[in-house]
Symmetry: C2
Subunit: 510 residues, 2 copies
């Protein structure tokens, strides 16, 4: 064994420790949202703060620095396979970034996160931004400190760009601004046409009352359909209920959650499909890359492209409902006996500007994101302050979506992200839509009849294409490189807009 | 602040880190048994091995050694309050023990534990001791190595005594042997009288079919009765289902499990009461001792005394059933309408030697433990070997309990303890019965009418007595000292035997 091989082996062993610990944190975090007795919240924040402290120590372990230096200056370095070079690069990146963040800042941020989220929940329930504001300011100041440190390491143009890079490596806020600008113009046009169409879908069919025990059966049937195993003796997933749906876990233990509303069956159906898409990605990573940096998704945007693919491009398609509506009718008994294919496809694709991001349709959704991006950019750019957030928010909702915000709970306090300190995260949601459009266009070229198999209830062919072309590439490339490798072109709003145009012009007959 | 105060503060801060991490491990272990997707077992064993490695490093941190030395040699040491001295003593004890155990041995043991338990499950299902044997030998050899190291540190008379000391500090196998000898003779006598009585209880009433959803309601009502909160907005507990019932957690997050059998409602009732007793102990520890060594129970036997108090002395009493039978009838609908108080009290107290420890009645139970104690002692004493275990086991079951063991799944492989490397644990179960008898006798003296309040459905008065006299003393004393402080005498089989005599002579009319 050469020195390089030995050092590389040691480096990967160190990384494995980190990956194992992160997977532990994921379980502890999942438990907090799903099963934890309420009185345990303070103990839990101690547990999570400690785990994040350990992770920070592992990433910044001086021995990692020594191993990295030895590997990088080795005369054999160029001979390392591509995967090895990428692993070294990814560990180097997090090592450089995290060693610059003082442990005290990391631990304090983790602790403040728990507090701000806790206060956010109370403030949201009480519709009281003034209650939320001081804690939001604290987490914002902590993240600003981190962003300023990271800006130096990452050599980004601004602190905000450094935060974006944590979620979507190598993309800049300027690039996002120009992409979003093009996206916004197109969305506004399509929304206008939909709203102006003579016939509007009737969404009342989705409001029929479905008991939660029956909705749980719907969830299982959807998991079966996309081959996300939550029931067999070898299952690697599970579905639970939480206030806000999410996906968490690692390889053989990837869990999704949904939220059941008796009078809104579509809410859970699309949560299960959305989170199921995230879970499929995680479980489709190459097994031989487990415990390595390459054994992960390359960005939040890429992850989102896959959740939205399953949710929207599969789950809101006519072909899906052609297959699933009869099954759904069987599961729910007589409740949908009078509902036809066009009724349900129209209802689940109804375009209607609204106040709440998570309830937005596929077309207006990205406008919610663009608003958040612009606000974050101005907040970190010093153009606005935390106390001004409600005013700015309400102004933009009126301007972009025609919505008058009556209270901050349905306004600036609707999302958990800022309370959790996740500034820079939101752009990934809309970038996911854009990547998703490009990936769909490539899938259409590679397997022109993939929608036919969905219509027959078989997801296998589509799943295999996604596994081969996306999941199995893991984190071998940065997102902007990966989208080029998959589709042959850089980030491009065009295919997503074309997909929307083609779908909604048919649905709305414009 | 004196040097002593400063060092003591630092020592406690170190211990807090450990307590937080242990509480994290508890959650991860709980998840493995209750919620984990089956495919995750290998990942989970990596997670648990890592957490145990971290714990070992924390306990053996050289700075703890430095702080302990500085505190112990401080001229102000004698001025430390009793609690402070006890904390220092307990940290010193685990530091001395754990620093002697090589990290490699600790991690290897944790890894082998997961493997042996996994193979045990398969071997038990296949009734195949030969499959289990090689993995059992591995964990036994690892524990023997540890026991030999610990014997030197603890200065015990044998390696087995060093293992017992982990569960029941300062008690020796010789002392246990003499206590168990007295216990055995008395039990054999009482069993003989019960079996020889002219009228035997009819246990068939307990075999009536009760759907699991209804049994879940029974669990909640029992938790309510003993004021173990699993439902309120400030709940600090929960009840889930597992193959084998257990309790785990820390202060504000103490969880119990039960197992439901449709045709055996008593099984879950007594699991909930038993585990609920454990949970009450944990939640009754002094809040200002949280994160300190004194904020824990002094031994497994003491813990068991409390679980058995709630299960047997409360839950199998006439007074309990006087209150609970009408409530149970309401919960289960018409199923028990023909059942009278004497029927149910007779049935839940039926004495009948059996093969399976966890199904044993209150009288024969300790004989199961005595068998295991004798086997463990001989195994670590080199008088028998792992391959001989089935033969020795079967012989003793025939001799002590008159049971002919047909296969090893209902014999030597019935328990998980040895698979998990928990040699030395079993004696605590019977010691718990003995402590419990002594504590009951003291309770009878202090509150002669406590059973009347149980009859009225109020556990409060009894609970407060237990909290004041047992729970709140935490780990301030070793178990043999604590029993003397509580009852005024050292360990004594008498009260437990008198309790059984008085109860069973009435029940069986002998």
């Amino acid at each position: 064994m050469t020195v390089l091989e030995s050092d590389y082996g040691k480096l990967l062993a160190k990384y494995k420790d980190l990956a194992v610990l992160q997977s532990t944190s994921a379980i502890v975090g999942w438990d907090m949202e799903t099963k934890m007795p309420p009185r345990a919240i303070k103990l839990r924040s101690e547990q999570l703060a400690q785990l994040s402290q350990f992770q920070h120590r592992m990433i910044t372990d001086a021995e990692i620095g020594t191993l990295l230096a030895s590997i990088e200056k080795s005369p054999d370095y160029e001979g390392l396979p591509e995967v090895g070079k990428r692993n070294v690069h990814l560990i180097r990146k997090s090592y450089d970034e995290q060693t610059k963040l003082p442990e005290e800042l990391v631990v304090e941020t983790e602790r403040q996160r728990s507090i701000t989220i806790d206060v956010w929940k109370k403030a949201k329930a009480a519709k009281d931004f003034a209650l939320f504001r001081p804690e939001l300011e604290k987490i914002f100041e902590l993240k600003k400190r981190a962003a300023e440190i990271l800006m130096d390491v990452k050599k980004t143009a601004s602190p905000y760009d450094a935060l974006i890079d944590m979620f979507e490596p190598k993309i800049t806020s300027d690039r996002i601004a120009s992409v979003f600008d093009e996206l916004r113009k197109n969305l506004v046009r399509i929304i206008g046409k939909c709203l102006g169409a003579s016939s509007q879908p009737d969404v009342s069919v989705l409001r029929r009352n479905i008991p939660i025990t029956i909705q749980e059966k719907i969830s299982s049937s959807l998991a079966d359909l996309i081959e996300y195993d939550v029931t067999s003796k070898n299952a690697g997933g599970r579905i639970d209920e939480t206030e806000h749906p999410f996906t968490t876990g690692y390889y053989d233990d990837v869990r999704i959650t949904t939220h059941y509303y008796e009078n809104n069956v579509a809410s859970s159906i699309y949560s299960v499909l959305h989170e199921g898409g995230h879970a499929k990605y995680e479980q489709g990573l190459r097994r031989d890359w487990m415990y390595q940096p390459v054994g992960s998704a390359p960005s939040y945007g890429f992850h989102e492209s896959q959740s939205r693919f399953v949710e929207n491009m599969v789950g809101r398609s006519t072909e899906f409902w052609q297959y699933y509506l009869p099954r759904l009718k069987t599961i729910v008994g007589g409740i949908f006996s009078d509902v036809g294919l066009d009724d349900v496809v129209g209802a689940v694709n109804a375009v209607k500007p609204s106040k709440i991001r998570t309830e937005a349709d596929e077309v207006t959704y990205s406008l919610h994101i663009i608003i958040r991006f612009e606000i974050e950019r101005d907040l970190f750019g010093g153009k606005i302050t935390v106390p001004e957030l409600p005013e700015v928010w309400n102004q933009k909702y009126l301007e972009y979506l025609g919505q008058r915000i009556d209270n901050d709970s349905e306004g600036v306090m609707q999302d958990t992200h800022w309370a959790g300190g996740d500034f820079g995260y939101f752009p990934s949601y809309a970038l996911g839509n854009i990547y998703g459009g490009q990936i769909l266009s490539k899938l259409n070229r590679d397997i022109p009849d993939w929608r036919n198999s969905i219509e027959k209830g078989s997801y296998r062919k589509t799943d295999e294409w996604l596994a081969k072309n996306i999941y199995s590439l893991g984190n071998l490339h940065d997102p902007l490189d990966l989208i080029r490798i998959i589709t042959g072109e850089g980030i491009n709003v065009g295919p997503f807009v074309e997909y929307l145009e083609s779908k909604y012009s048919k649905l709305y007959g414009y």
